[in-house]
């Protein structure tokens, strides 16, 4: 490659990386600044007098820890439920012939395009009727049904890619189906299960609208709505808000990094939504 082209390529790559992460560096920088420095002109990227004061105030003076615990709980339960129901469903879709199988697959794809705003009104009224408004149950159920179509679609692709012969060999050798699944299919489907888990986790962790409509009491709120309340104060305490932003981003990022390698495979089959 010619030198100029090469140089342009590296400049473009650097630009791409910078636009993606610079806002986070700025958020981190602000979160470590004392109040006076936050509002100083000119603003600097490296804090002159770094302090953890914003984080201390966030954890002691606000309900941040409660929101965090609620988010972990709700996202965790959603991941478990979705992965379990999704894996069993997708396995059945690929391994057993039954009438309507293709129709089910098409239905799943159709719901993939669906957005929460189209059904928040009935969901809210249904939750009221069932008496589960203002409970985490309502959130977990909503997130599960929203991530399921996609989880089924993704896992179906993974199960389809696992050769039937392997499983049949195990069945012929006298292993029952449960054992064949546990020892032959599950290890091969692990990347798919991880991709599903991270997709579901992200959906539940990031959701704003369901918590907004279904949760009224402060002690049950999840992070996005809880933090929005901090942000809605008359005078915004930017240092505090940025500290909250940093702490919400870390778990999502850590989870993402941990399974990132497996994820690329999932993306090939369209592992994203939003």
């Amino acid at each position: 490659m010619r030198r100029v082209t090469r140089l342009a390529l590296y400049a473009a790559a650097l630009g791409l990386a910078a636009q993606a992460i610079f806002p986070f560096l700025w958020m981190l920088s602000t979160s470590l600044k004392p109040p006076r420095e936050v509002l100083a002109t000119p603003p600097g990227l490296v804090p002159a007098a770094p302090t953890l004061d914003n984080f201390v105030r966030l954890l002691t003076e606000t309900a941040f820890i409660t929101y965090f615990r609620n988010s972990v709980l709700v996202a965790g339960l959603t991941v478990l439920l979705t992965t379990l129901v999704g894996a069993v469903g997708a396995y059945s879709l690929t391994r057993f012939r039954f009438p309507g199988r293709e129709a089910v697959a098409k239905l799943i794809l159709a719901t993939y395009m669906f957005a929460p705003i189209l059904i928040v009104v009935p969901i809210y009224i249904m939750a009221r009727r069932l008496g589960i408004v203002n409970t985490h149950t309502a959130l977990v159920l909503s997130y599960t049904s929203f991530s399921l179509p996609f989880a089924l679609w993704l896992l179906r692709a993974f199960f389809q890619s696992i050769p039937l012969d392997l499983e049949e060999a195990a069945l012929v050798d006298g292993a029952g189906r449960p054992r064949a699944v546990a020892y032959v299919v599950a290890p091969l489907a692990l990347p798919g299960l991880l991709a599903t888990a991270i997709f579901t986790f992200t959906l539940a962790w990031n959701d704003y609208i369901f918590t907004l409509i279904l949760i009224a009491s402060d002690e049950l709120k999840t992070l996005p709505v809880g933090v929005q309340d901090l942000f809605a104060a008359a005078v915004v305490d930017w240092g505090l808000v940025m500290a909250a932003g940093v702490l919400i981003t870390i778990p999502a990022l850590a989870f993402f990094m941990a399974v990132q390698r497996h994820l690329v495979a999932g993306w090939g089959s369209g592992g994203l939504k939003g």
Partner: protein, 308 residues
Amino acid sequence: MTVHAGAAARVRARPRRRLGPAALGVLGVLPALLLIAALIAYPVGYSIWLSLLDKHSFFPAERWVGLDNYVYLLRDTEFWDSLWKGVVYATGTTALQLVAGVVAALVLHQPFVGRTLVRALVLFPYMIPTIVAVIVWRWLLNETYGLVDYLLVAWGLVRQPIVWLGTEHVMTSLIGMSVWQFTPFVVISVLARLQTIPPELYEAARVDGASPWGRFRWITLPQLRAVLFVVILLRSIWMFTKFDTVWLWGEGAGAGREIRTLPVYAYMRTFTYYQAGYGAALAVVMLLMLMAATVAYFRLFWREEEAA
């Protein structure tokens, strides 16, 4: 009863009776289907029913009004206004994401040192919660203390700081921020497809003396057709129905009206004015428009496919 119990015992004594594959299959998919039916399909139907009622969002009182909500909707200037804003937002963001996403994917497809890292970094904006994307950009674009206005003034590009969240610029800043947040979806979809284009095609073109632009125009682009079709469809639907980003961008900014897209308007009717029936009618209309657009889009694509 005792006879049945005896029969059951006899069955159990024999080698374990197995369910047929069809029964097992249905049984396995059932939990997933039930959840989807109860929490997606049923609500859609319920929405249609609600849209025919005059119903308060909190109190049980409801009254059958037939198509009154829809008749009202046709004359509701706020509806038309929010529809227009929604269309501007959806088409603007989708077009920009598409261009930026394809360019970024082409760059990330080239070999260079540190490519894996850059590919992972580029996904950040898409992975983080919307609330974080919103607060960090509202901080960067703050008219008094924000970095962006500071730099624009310091570099002499503008005389006065731009009020990004003011009436005049709030739609522009919302579109820019949304493009930043959602472009990674386009990047990853296109990149995945680029990796499956057979290299022989490019070699043949090179032998024939095709320019880089020619190779892109006549090889890459036709190969990307199908994936771009899907990406445009999904992105425009998701942008048209986007609630959280738009709502949070307008929250407390004072210029929320300027970015009151259809999803935000439907939400407000239901949860600010407590008109559940009218809110449901707005959601139903949104859904119908999406379905009509999707069908039209597929038709168009097929016709072009046949012509090609």
